[in-house]
């Protein structure tokens, strides 16, 4: 018993320490993100109350009310500290424009965004794995065709892909609704639109990795043991190319989540993209800050999870004494 636990501690420790260090760094990242966002909104020209009133003609009483309600007459550093204080208490404040609390706006918009991002990425991951496994080191013709398709996939603007998908599968074939479909049927086309370029990118990276791996001696050994070609690819080679793919996945997650604006507009979906875009142009500070807190938080969590995922994929990392060694 004791021997077992002894032998496990050195492995467990680095993981815990690694997680702690990451968490500490994450808090710094969050604070930095909030501060930068606050500064950039205040440094861009135009006062907040002017932007809120926009091109409406309001009575002086309304203007005074807006200034008073949002504390816009306070010096900037007081507004900043007050904001940080509220965030620490878990209060993200109220939107200047949307007549709702930031936390309720974000929680209602985050779900559709995450749903679409995860579905899109999941779809892309499965397709990319299959594509790369089935085409690595195959005939030149097959690879040529597939990499041609990938090139197209990467280059197609998401806007155009979305319109094309709608035109064919909604307007012509009538398989999916143009907008607002309940649950799954409304998710398919946007997820495919998201997945196209991600699939192309992932499968290129993975095929290149696979082609190197399939040259390795252990592959020869496996084949010598009588394993079929597919079994070699799926059981042995795949694991080796998953690591770089997962690393890329963390980055892609942020990229996709941050780039949903166009998809949301074309498919009339709820989501953080439109919320953020409107908040930034409208100087809706509390919403922008809320989104910054959320996205940097999610990004941090995803990266921690990916770090842990490395350990699952690659047993060699589990025994490592130093993180990253």
């Amino acid at each position: 018993m004791s021997r077992v636990s002894k032998s496990r501690t050195p492995a467990r420790h680095p993981v815990a320490r690694r997680t702690l260090v990451r968490l500490g760094a994450s808090l710094l990242v969050l604070w930095g993100a909030v501060t930068l966002a606050f500064a950039s909104l205040h440094l861009t020209p135009g006062s907040i109350e002017d932007t809120l009133i926009g091109q409406s003609t309001v009575t002086p009483e309304v203007r005074a009310q807006i200034v008073a309600d949002y504390g816009l007459d306070e010096p900037v550093h007081v507004q900043y500290l007050a904001y940080l204080g509220r965030v620490l208490k878990g209060d993200l404040g109220h939107s200047y424009q949307l007549h709702d609390s930031v936390s309720s706006l974000i929680s209602s918009q985050a779900v559709p965004s995450l749903q679409l991002t995860l579905t899109g990425l999941g779809l892309a991951a499965v397709t990319a794995i299959l594509l790369s496994l089935l085409t690595a080191k195959r005939s030149r013709l097959l690879r040529g065709v597939v990499s041609g398709l990938e090139l197209v996939g990467i280059s197609v603007p998401v806007f155009w892909a979305g319109i094309l998908l709608l035109t064919v599968f909604s307007f012509q074939l009538g398989w999916f609704p143009a907008a607002g479909g309940d649950g799954f049927s409304g998710l398919v086309l946007p997820a495919v639109a998201v997945a196209i370029s991600v699939t192309a990118l992932l499968s290129q990276v993975m095929r290149e990795g696979l082609e190197t791996v399939l040259e390795e001696p252990f592959v020869l050994t496996a084949r010598a043991r009588g394993l079929s070609d597919l079994a070699v690819r799926f059981r042995h080679a795949l694991r080796h190319v998953l690591l770089p793919a997962v690393t890329l996945g963390g980055w892609l997650f942020g990229l996709v989540l941050g780039g949903l604006v166009t998809i949301e507009m074309i498919f009339s979906r709820q989501g953080l993209g439109q919320l953020t875009l409107n908040a930034v142009t409208g100087k809706d500070l509390p919403v922008v800050m809320g989104v910054v807190v959320l996205t940097s938080g999610v990004y941090v969590v995803v990266n921690i999870l990916l770090d842990l995922l490395y350990l699952v994929i690659d047993p060699r990392l589990r025994g490592a004494h130093e993180p990253g060694s």
């Binding site: 006062s47 091109q55 409406s56 009575t59 309304v62 007549h99 143009a178 009339s268 709820q270």
Partner: protein
């Protein structure tokens, strides 16, 4: 003795606050679909729009689309027709005091809000008080009854509304959805609740408003107080009404042609011909009332301080041809600052000025811009004739950015260097406040000739305290006087005569370069019938019905 239509349509922006540059509109009806057969009871009509409200409370929001979203739910005290005449609605009659400062309304009996609250004089008072309460942060409605001093409940059926001075646009303002009567119980719930749900006496009741997707309504079965101008009385024909947000033009059009929706807003001009040719669809256009889409030269400073330079720009550019070509005739070229659909429009402005490049060249010579630099632009004392134009490209609707580029190319031919500055709203506003521009562009829809007061009264010039629509920074004692006089009379003919003088004068002084008349372009399936129009030129669905 009844005033005019008054309804403002500020911009149809995605964003709350930023209105008018992209201001939008509605208009006067063109070919109404010949309604055949008896209306069918029941069914659902799905209508797709290109923008959405950020706040459902029309008392607070300045967006046109808020009017469209809430009109099915909200009735007004009065209604107005396309001729600018006021008719009773929730108010059965009214009297205006001799000094024109007090309006006494007799209210209709038996009207109930959909939450069960009874409609009475106290409810009217609660609504007007809610509009002017600074806590409502009204961005539109409150500004239109600025001289309002208070309401008095005389008895349950009588309410007296007072002003500090005569304010002739009041009744027309009351007719808009921005003055829609809401349940006093609902008003008590505060701005956050109201932003998501409004409760009125109207023919429909809101089921659910989902931002970025749309809104659904069901019929109010008790509805029995339609205005006399409506096509029928009693409850609405439709069982359900659904408005969907499909912001992307091609998606909206595809949803219509594939039968997923029954009607769409804002058919892009380029697709109008195609839709007209298709026998499955009907196309209706309605000219928006109020300020056309125009360019306003800064008359207070810079190159356009000189009236000769302003006139050279207006007359030296073939606006009419550019507009006709770009919009395929769907939007008409404009000649007056206000649209032909506005009460008080002066038709004689259409011949008041015309394209005259030779005259323009002569004017520029007279103004001293006689030199030419190596790129062909005119110069004076070595300085190039440059027009600085802060342009909100991100919010440019109806290809206004393309239009601006074509105008830029035309202007070059007569020696103007039009220099765009692609700005955000936050960057734009300080420029307007400081007067740091030579040209500004926007439309200002409003179903009342009083739109002219917004556009040209010297009290409507933007300063640090107040944003105003007089972006020409035009000040003229005569014009101010006429506009003031127009507030003192509710006589349509008298007001029209005053508005006519204003239009002639600002055209003579070239305080505006009129560009085009915005039209609401509605495409619908032949299965959808009876879609009506507000005078502010957006569709109404009370008398609409659908066939299978």
């Amino acid at each position: 003795m009844t005033p005019h239509m008054y309804a403002v349509r500020t911009s149809a922006l995605l964003l709350t606050a930023l209105l008018a540059l992209t201001a939008c509109g509605g208009g006067t009806s063109a070919d109404a679909d010949a309604e055949s057969g008896e209306p069918v009871k029941g069914g659902t009509l799905v209508y797709a729009v290109n923008t959405e409200p950020t706040n459902l409370d029309p008392h607070a929001s300045p967006q046109d689309i808020t009017g469209l979203y809430t009109r099915p739910v909200l009735d007004s005290l009065v209604t107005l027709d396309d001729q600018g005449k006021i008719h009773p609605w929730l108010a059965s009659s009214w009297e205006i005091s001799a000094d024109q400062k007090t309006y006494t309304f007799k209210l209709r009996e038996g009207v109930k809000f959909s939450d069960g609250t009874v409609f009475d004089a106290a409810a009217v008072k609660a609504n007007l008080e809610h509009i002017v309460d600074p806590k409502t942060k009204s961005q539109l409605a409150a500004g239109f009854i600025a001289p309002y001093t208070g309401s008095e409940v005389v008895d349950a059926r009588t309410v007296k509304v007072s002003f500090s001075r005569p304010h002739s646009p009041f009744l027309a303002a009351l007719a808009t959805a921005y003055f829609g009567i809401q349940s006093p119980e609902s008003l008590k719930k505060g701005p956050e609740e109201l932003a998501k749900r409004v409760i009125g006496t109207g023919p429909f009741v809101i089921d659910e408003f989902t931002p970025r997707q749309g809104i659904t309504y069901h019929r109010n079965p008790d509805y029995d107080w339609a205005p006399p101008t409506a096509a029928h009385s009693g409850p609405a024909h439709l069982e359900k009404l659904e408005i969907k947000l499909l912001a992307e033009d091609s998606v909206r059009l595809g949803a219509l042609t594939s039968g997923q929706v029954d009607g769409i807003a804002s058919v892009p001009p380029v697709n109008v011909k195609q839709l007209k040719a298709d026998s499955r669809f009907t196309l209706q256009t309605k000219q928006a009332p109020g300020g056309n889409y125009s360019y306003y030269p800064n008359t207070a400073g810079g190159v356009f301080k000189d009236v000769k330079v302003r006139q050279a720009f207006r007359d030296g550019i073939d606006f009419k041809t550019v507009v006709d070509k770009l919009y395929f005739g769907v939007f008409q070229p404009a000649f007056s600052p206000i649209s032909p659909a506005t009460q008080g429009y002066d038709k004689s402005t259409e011949t008041q000025w015309k394209y005259d490049p030779d005259g323009a060249a002569k004017l520029l010579d007279e103004a001293g811009w006689t030199g030419r630099d190596d790129q062909g632009y005119r110069t004076r004392d070595g300085e190039r004739l440059t027009v600085r134009w802060p342009f909100l490209k991100a919010f440019a609707r109806e290809q206004r950015d393309t239009l601006a580029q074509q105008i830029q190319a035309e202007a070059k031919k007569i020696g103007f260097d039009v220099a765009f500055d692609d700005v955000t709203v936050a960057e734009y506003l300080p420029k307007v406040i400081k007067g740091d521009y030579d040209l500004a562009d926007f439309s200002w829809q409003r179903a009342d000739g009083d739109a002219l007061r917004n556009l040209f009264s010297s009290s409507s010039i933007t300063n640090a305290e107040q944003y105003g629509q007089n972006q020409a920074k035009y000040t003229d004692k005569e014009v101010d006087g006429w506009l003031d006089d127009s507030l003192n009379t509710t006589d349509l003919a008298e007001r029209a005569a005053l508005y006519s003088k204003v239009q002639q004068k600002v055209n003579t002084d070239v305080a505006v370069f009129p560009v085009y008349v915005f039209n609401y372009v509605l495409g619908s399936s032949k299965k959808a019938h009876g879609i009506g129009w507000e005078p502010q030129a957006y569709p109404t669905f009370y008398s609409a019905w659908v066939t299978k």
